[in-house]
Symmetry: C2
Subunit: 295 residues, 2 copies
Amino acid sequence: MLIQEYFKSREKILNAAMDEYLESKDSYPSELHEAMRYSVFSGGKRLRPILMFAAYEMLIGRKNIGRLSRLLPAACALEFIHTASLIHDDLPSVDNSPERRGRPTCHVKFGEATAILAGDALITKAIEILTEIKQSKLALDCIKILTKAVSTRGMIGGQAVDIISAKKKVNINTLRYIHLKKTGALLQSSMELACAFHDAEENTSITLSNFAVNLGLAYQIVDDILDEVGSFEVLGKNPGEDARNQKATYPALIGLETSKKQAIKLLRDSHNLIKNMKNNDILIEFVEMIRQRLP
Amino acid sequence: MLIQEYFKSREKILNAAMDEYLESKDSYPSELHEAMRYSVFSGGKRLRPILMFAAYEMLIGRKNIGRLSRLLPAACALEFIHTASLIHDDLPSVDNSPERRGRPTCHVKFGEATAILAGDALITKAIEILTEIKQSKLALDCIKILTKAVSTRGMIGGQAVDIISAKKKVNINTLRYIHLKKTGALLQSSMELACAFHDAEENTSITLSNFAVNLGLAYQIVDDILDEVGSFEVLGKNPGEDARNQKATYPALIGLETSKKQAIKLLRDSHNLIKNMKNNDILIEFVEMIRQRLP
């Protein structure tokens, strides 16, 4: 199966589930529910839930969309948390981004106050739907995995360091920390969730977590490189924004060539971690997909 | 036991537990952890956790501080959620409050971006510590109770309507909705949590929930009245702020005398709901304490 087809089919069941879980636009208070839906359905790539699906289907040994229905609470929770983080990141006092994926950001469309609440509500919703998982222990394990990933030791910690470091001279270790936590923690949790649903051995969970962390870091470095030398088409947003926002990037700190080498090494490491696993074709294609973005 | 003594002793074990759960000020990223601690330890009245303690001690039939240790995750979770809601409410784009309890608010002290993240982190922390409750089913029940209370059908829904209604002419039904959800939902959950820990009958849980909802509504009306005719000493903040912020209040909508009558009726209803329960002395004193604030 081509990875594009895989993405398309899995995205479809994910979107249907998110549509089911979210209150309708007209539910009181409608502005809030509309803002939540606006940001959730704004053309995201759904990387985290689809990575979780792919890892789970590798573990059960076959691609079977029917078997994914039990994962849907976790898949939607991942995407709701990710969306909440984008809404809060885009706020004027944080990254001050008026646009995302060619559309006005949540606070531009609905006002800052509603955007703040929409983020809070999506975090809460993510946990709430995890409580609906039938087996108590599995539900609780999923909530543990997700809250650890979101906490100040994870995603929020990375966002905080990113904020504190803005317009300051940061070193490569700080930049690495930001990426590892801000995006890495949630990617890692998508693998841990897949393993929890399969009741996989700890070894497998650690290997897949490392796979996702390397992949996430590579993705960020490639993004930094594209921001410096890429086009709007490949990047999906205007290049040069990092420099304009005085954001630390890999190319700025260690040069373009060394950045490329690092990205390639991380992608090779990702590949090597899973190369001996059976039914790894979709995850291997994930790695390849990111490599192909490199200019 | 005098209610003041009761408050003091229960507040002490709550504060010790919150201190234990929160990362130290120096933990990286320190600005974020400092902001969380600053807002949690800023002299709040701890109404929600102490109400939960009091209900639980009524249910088990004796005041026993030693027996409260198993409730501490839920007690801290309630206070962390409440603190998060205050941090986000105080933001410039929401209520724009530079001070709370005589101290600069979180965003004034640490910047808006860190304040937004501190709120997010406290919501996440609240859920995370609930997962530490030993019995899986109880832990999951607590998370269900709390996420329902925080959701768009609860606290966040109330905050959203409050924001949307600002500077608009609202009617008494909308104002009632705001209070019922914005403060009532979390108060109600404090009773539901106490009942979950005691495995109380559904009847008891419903009665105590109604008790807390009435009490919360009465508290808000008394606050509105004091804002109109009270002094700084009784109110704990400058009176007249609601009028200056063009906020809808009970006295503004239904007049001072009718507001007083409503508050007294709600307090009488609260009293009546629990008057036949054994060991109800602390909860009865709670009602009395609010009645005494009435000018």
